[in-house]
């Protein structure tokens, strides 16, 4: 079981490394969206530092969304989804490998880049550990929830337009706890509650999402 998981993880990471645009584009998108805010609102430092947690979180959420459509689409187009579905290994475990790849390729670089954007938006330095921690837990959860939407829409020609409609409402709790975690840290408050809530969401998504993704993939592959 572990063998197939590792094989799939290795294959998808290799593929991602050979096509840099897959992970580079969402990252650039993330940076551009964040820079749009000071331009749109004005360079007022105190205002920017106040909205920074929300802006970074919304941008991270949108950037995660960008890579989601491709999560199963390539496999679907070239037929390797059939090999995935016909594997004797439990599909939900294989799905987890795909989601983990998505996070390593789209989520982790985002997390690593976020302190830089925090500086651009004049977020208080003391909030940066909270930003990193909340983004790690949050983007993992987003990848898991988003994979359900990706699996449901993969068989559709214009699934990419539908996907945000399906998953963005489900992203809202993560956005709420994530941005509030950063805002609390910037204000010098405790962030234990937010982090444990984010952790709770993550474990719930980890337990349920792979099953929903597996079922959705089997349905999408029928057509």
């Amino acid at each position: 079981m572990g063998g197939a998981f590792i094989t799939l993880l290795k294959r998808d990471l290799t593929l991602a490394m050979r096509r840099r645009s897959d992970w580079l584009n969402p990252l650039v998108f993330f940076v551009i969206v964040v820079t749009l805010f000071p331009i749109g609102i004005g360079p007022d430092g105190s205002l920017l530092s106040e909205i920074a947690p929300g802006v970074i979180w919304v941008a991270a959420l949108l950037a995660t969304l960008l890579g989601l459509d491709g999560l199963f689409r390539d496999d679907f187009d070239d037929g390797s989804i059939e090999q995935l579905l016909l594997s004797p290994q439990p599909l939900s475990v294989l799905v987890l490998a795909k989601v983990l790849t998505h996070w390593l390729v789209a989520g982790l670089p985002l997390v690593l880049l976020s302190p830089l954007l925090a500086l651009l938006l004049q977020l208080k330095l003391q909030a940066i550990p909270a930003l990193l921690a909340s983004l790690v837990l949050g983007t993992l959860t987003l990848s898991l929830i988003g994979a359900i939407g990706a699996a449901l829409t993969v068989g559709l020609r214009r699934g990419g337009v539908l996907l945000p409609l399906l998953v963005l409402p489900l992203f809202i709790p993560v956005l709420i706890f994530g941005s509030s975690c950063v805002a609390a840290a910037a204000g010098g408050f405790a962030i234990g509650a937010q982090l444990s809530l984010l952790g709770g969401l993550f474990f719930l998504a980890l337990a349920l999402a792979p099953l929903a993704v597996a079922a959705s993939l089997r349905i999408s592959a029928e057509s």
């Binding site: 359900i148 409609l165 349905i219």
Partner: protein
């Protein structure tokens, strides 16, 4: 019990049952709504804080209840459909979605109308209104997914999974929005819905709530009958009915 359930699950039997029930329920619905509205708008006393404008709760609150209730019906039907492959349950879920979305929209619109005299703005990021708005997005997503998959049986099962994913998320969204709201909301702003309500105000509210539920049943049964006819247009019993001109 199971046999009774199985009999009802047959679309033909359900069609006949719905045919008999619909006119009765329609009459009940008209009476409930008429009495409820009369008692709510004319008999119930004026609220000493909010004046006459509070009377919008007789539409707003039942609509908000319905928006959640219908989603629960959809989720339950989706489960029946996925686990027991009950086609009737899928039809009920399918026709319920636009109804639920309409009630959600009604709750939002009346909430916003109420907000003007109460808060002085058309839209206040109140916890319940925000949850209601997100619920509307979830309904829209469900309908969008369903309509964009050509293959009917694939569409039905994909939509059912989405409905179940939604039902797990709705309480989480509800509580997180409430949490977010208490975090940002200054305490001075009054919230929609008062915990203690006088009995003369409560009775019309309950009448209206019941009226809305019966209204949902009437429309849902009628639409379900239509979809049954559409899906089983080639079956013997539908053909026979068409020949005898009684649909």
């Amino acid at each position: 019990m199971f046999r009774w359930f199985h009999k009802l699950a047959s679309t033909k039997n359900f069609y006949r049952l719905a045919e008999i029930l619909t006119p009765l329920l329609a009459v009940a619905c008209a009476i409930l709504l008429a009495v409820g509205l009369y008692r709510g708008l004319f008999v119930a006393p004026t609220d000493y804080e909010q004046g006459e404008s509070y009377r919008i709760i007789y539409v707003h609150v039942p609509a908000a209840w319905m928006s959640l209730f219908i989603y629960m019906v959809m989720a339950f039907c989706s489960l029946l459909f996925l686990v027991w492959k009950m086609k009737l349950a899928d039809i009920v879920a399918q026709v319920s979605a636009p109804l639920g979305a309409s009630f959600t929209f009604l709750a939002l619109a009346t909430g916003s109308l109420w907000g003007k005299p109460m808060w002085g703005t058309w839209w206040e990021w109140d916890a319940r209104l925000t949850s209601e708005l997100i619920l509307l997005f979830i309904y829209i997503g469900y309908m969008a997914l369903r309509s964009s998959i050509d293959n009917k049986s694939t569409a039905a099962r994909a939509a059912a999974i989405l409905a179940l994913v939604g039902v797990v998320n709705i309480p989480i969204i509800h509580y997180s929005v409430e949490w977010w709201n208490t975090l940002h909301q200054p305490a001075s702003i009054a919230k929609i819905g008062t915990p203690s309500i006088h009995i003369s105000m409560l009775i019309p509210l309950l009448l209206m709530a019941l009226g809305f539920k019966v209204y949902y049943l009437v429309v849902m049964l009628t639409k379900t009958r239509n979809v049954i006819l559409e899906r089983e247009a080639n079956s013997a019993w539908v053909r026979e009915r068409v020949k005898e001109n009684r649909l």
